[in-house]
């Protein structure tokens, strides 16, 4: 019953005209952002945060807007996967495997509608899961002391570098770079500057928004300059869009199963949506067997990764809200948003700010229905967006990034830093070093160090305190396994490469 009264509270906030309006705007913007090749959810949410912030929304409104963008972008990611064979972001890669072949068979409309429905099922079930699981996990989170938090952060970093990356050393290195950057600025405990090299701008530390926009958006511009925006014209024609009832019925159980798999993958700290869509696709593929025809353009191959992807996006919100540890790149960006709004995620969020949590959950439910309503009949509108040439889109992204950061901080130094992060992001992309762990490192670095230091104060410098509870030991074991297991698993579970023409 508590759940219902909480939901009632949430809906009383989310159903106000302003919030509802923001949710619709957010869904629309999000779908466009997600569908534009070269933008994707993390980028989109990243460049919008500074703008949202300078518009002066209150916490709930900003959160509703950005989470609708987040969910919308997850929906939108599938459009370019299916029509262009270009995944809008990492998790959408799996959708290209069957989506693009299906589109080439002249069933682009069917694939888009089916994937829209699958996205809805995944996201809807995940939001329900979030409602049920998050309060429980928040209760468990009360048992977490500094030692447990330290182990949890470690787990997040080690699993983030897990399956999502191809090289453990590079993933770990990226986390270290993020942590190292987080150390810049004044030390919380002593008030002494660290790594500022006498530069006054660095006293406050490096703003994570600057890093995020640089690493994601500006780096993307460089990538496009290198490729000259090749391969972004629409290759398949979209005929009349009908609702493929038979495909939806046939892949119903696939969607349910994939949502389950995706949700669990999303809840794991650090694992996130990529793992969710990957596992959902792989498990359905092995269930269907060789006769299932996965990879040749079957409807179930489109439904599975989309349901998994969106369920994982919802699942990733669970550790983000209850523990303050994001489960994916985009949730890391959302965590940055919360921190900018001065909301500290964690178990206390559920007791201190129930309006934020339940307003958020209610708006997710609303966003979902809005997205379904928007995506099935209006899919043609979003398809038209794809024909925006990159030579207009990417300069636009650059300008929005500059104005966003400039209006947020008003300093040249941050703009230069942003360009610097853009260059780093480009070089790292070339070297196959993941950039999401850098963001996570910058976001969590101070917290991780704080946890370690508080643990050592409590134990008076006895390192064995870090392993003193069952939860802590479990987290340590999970962290070690999460880091090393992919090295062995990767040999058997090869990531399917994108379909080539």
């Amino acid at each position: 019953m508590e759940l219902l009264s909480n939901l009632a509270l949430g809906f009383s906030i989310a159903l106000s005209p302003t919030t509802l309006f923001l949710a619709v705007i957010g869904c629309f913007l999000g779908t466009i952002i997600g569908s534009l090749p070269g933008l994707g959810p993390s980028n989109g949410v990243a460049i919008l945060i500074p703008l949202t912030f300078s518009l002066g929304f209150d916490a709930t409104a900003a959160l509703v807007l950005m989470t609708s963008v987040y969910y919308g972008a997850m929906y939108g990611g599938r459009i370019s996967s299916i029509l262009l064979n270009i995944p809008g972001d990492e998790p959408a890669l799996m959708t290209t495997l069957d989506g693009y072949p299906m589109a080439k068979q002249g069933r682009a409309g069917d694939a888009l509608v089916l994937s829209g429905v699958a996205s809805f099922v995944g996201a809807f079930l995940a939001t329900i899961g979030l409602m049920l699981l998050a309060p429980v996990l928040a209760q468990v989170a009360y048992l977490f002391g500094p030692a447990e938090y330290f182990a949890l952060y470690l787990l997040a970093f080690s699993t983030l570098g897990g399956i999502a990356s191809n090289n453990q050393a590079k993933a770990a290195l990226a986390s270290c770079i993020g942590l190292a950057i987080a150390m810049i600025g004044l030390d919380n405990n002593t008030g002494m500057p660290r790594f500022t090299f006498g530069n006054l701008h660095l006293m406050d530390g490096v703003d994570f928004l600057v890093a995020i926009v640089g690493l994601f958006a500006v780096a993307e511009v460089f990538i496009f300059i290198e490729s000259h925006g090749k391969g972004s014209s629409i290759g398949v024609k979209l005929e009349k869009v009908r609702i493929p009832f038979r495909d939806i019925k046939n892949s119903f159980w696939t969607m349910i199963r994939a949502s389950g798999v995706g949700f669990v993958a999303g809840v794991l700290p650090g694992a996130g949506a990529s793992l969710g869509s990957f596992l959902a696709y792989m498990s359905e593929k092995s269930l269907a067997g060789p006769k299932g025809g996965f990879g040749t353009g079957v409807p179930r191959g489109v439904a599975a990764p989309e349901a998994g992807n969106n369920a994982a996006a919802g699942g990733a919100l669970v550790p983000m809200l209850t523990l303050g540890v994001p489960g994916s790149g985009t949730t890391a960006v959302l965590l940055a948003l919360l921190m900018t709004l001065n909301i500290t995620p964690g178990p206390t969020l559920f007791t201190d700010r129930p309006d934020v949590v339940w307003g958020l959950i209610a708006s997710l439910l609303i966003a979902n229905f809005v997205l379904l309503a928007m995506n099935v009949p209006m899919v043609k509108v979003f398809v038209r967006v794809l024909s925006v040439p990159p030579a207009i889109l990417l300069p636009g992204v650059t300008m929005i990034s500059f104005v966003g950061i400039y209006s947020l901080t008003g300093s040249y130094f941050d703009l230069l830093l942003m360009v610097g992060f853009g260059v780093i992001g480009y070089v790292f992309r070339k070297l196959d070093v993941p950039t999401v762990p850098i963001i996570l490192g910058i976001l969590l670095g101070k917290h991780m160090e704080d946890a370690l230091r508080r643990a050592m104060v409590l134990s008076d410098g006895d390192a064995s305190y870090l392993f003193s509870s069952g939860i802590a030991i479990t987290l340590w074991i999970a962290a070690v396994l999460g880091f090393f297991a992919p090295i062995f698993v990767r040999r058997y579970l090869r990531k399917p490469a994108a379909v080539s023409d």
Binding site: A169, G191, G229, G396, G422
Partner: protein, 147 residues
């Protein structure tokens, strides 16, 4: 041929060592805890150095770097962005944005007329969007002291 991962690994080791050295220089204060302000940065630096070492000894697939021409246009883009960052305040929003957007657009797709139109269109369009729809305080033109 030098392997990019090896070179990068070496750079990482050097930077990590410099980072650790710089961590040793951190001033401590009378208020201190058992861990202090040096330990965590040094741990991070050490792990990064190990990762760099791993990359030197077990490099992954070699990266594909763009041709010299593309590299030059990337460098040009970076320079343009830096200049843009500096010119935004003294020159107002419209002119630097139009120039920068046009140059970036030309780098992505080398069509001069299209690039100029993109630059002007983006500059005016975004200005209207930011100024009137989002209500950000942007200055359109440089503030003239005379005339």
């Amino acid at each position: 041929m030098l392997h990019s991962d090896r070179v990068f690994g070496l750079v990482v080791i050097l930077v990590a060592l410099a980072y650790i050295a710089s961590a040793l220089q951190i001033q401590t204060s009378f208020m201190s805890d058992p861990v202090g302000s040096k330990t965590f940065p040094m741990l991070v630096g050490a792990v990064a150095a190990i990762c760099g070492g791993t990359m030197v000894f077990r490099p992954g697939e070699d990266a594909h770097w763009p041709a010299l021409r593309t590299l030059l246009s990337l460098v040009l883009s970076v320079i343009v962005m830096v200049v843009y960052a500096y010119s935004l305040k003294p020159l107002g929003f419209l002119i630097p944005t139009a120039v920068t957007a046009a140059i970036l657009s030309y780098q992505i797709s080398p069509r001069p007329v299209f690039a100029i139109l993109t630059g002007v269109g983006l500059s005016v369009g975004l200005f209207l969007l930011f100024k009137y729809a989002l209500d950000l305080g942007l200055v359109p033109f440089p503030k003239m002291s005379a005339g």
